[in-house]
Amino acid sequence: MMRDEITVLMFARYAELFGATAIQVPRFDAATVGALIEHLRRLPGGQALPERPLVAVNQQQASSDRPLVAGDEVALLPPMAGG
């Protein structure tokens, strides 16, 4: 991981959309959670991503205005279906 990249973990259906379980994104394209999602929706496979998917930053759910800094663990979470 380069210093100015954000790693985005992908799970379940979202991993299938992108064909990847993690994607590195330049941090200037992902200054906030909302900007990151906009960026991801333009990537191949990203068109099926909802406009406001559930996102966790450092394992806590985060809203779309949450700023991202290098080293943040960002994860895209499809609707939960445990139990």
């Binding site: 799970f11 259906r13 994860a75 939960m80 445990g82």
Partner: protein, 146 residues
Amino acid sequence: MNRLTDSAIDWSELVEATAGPGRGAQALFLGTVRDHHAGRAVVGLEYSAYGAMAESTLEALIGEATARWPVAVEVRHRLGRLEVGDVAVAVAVAGGHRDEAFAACRFLIEELKKRVPIWKRERYADGTEAWVDPTAPTGRAPEPAR
């Protein structure tokens, strides 16, 4: 603490682990794989998780439950490939009285379903598969446009 497991859940061990001489009321909930869902015949399913966050969220839920009720709690969720009848999740609670045992047990399974990052892919009798989405009207996630 590993509350996620790839092997069969020993739920009777969880009941015994929560027991104690002051805890006269014990409640256990088991979620098992059903043979049907939303009108389709299910032959099995596969659970996956965001492991680290699932563990920390379960830890937080247990903290909330034990702060709210004087109970001892054990929770396990199975991951990987499960067949019909397999136990997917077990919540064991023990307390002094049945009000708190039932309330904490119910709280934990409800919150687990809402907040713990675990996903389920169902396998159907007709050979197809789909991701389960409890928030979708059909109970299943839309197929991606390919």
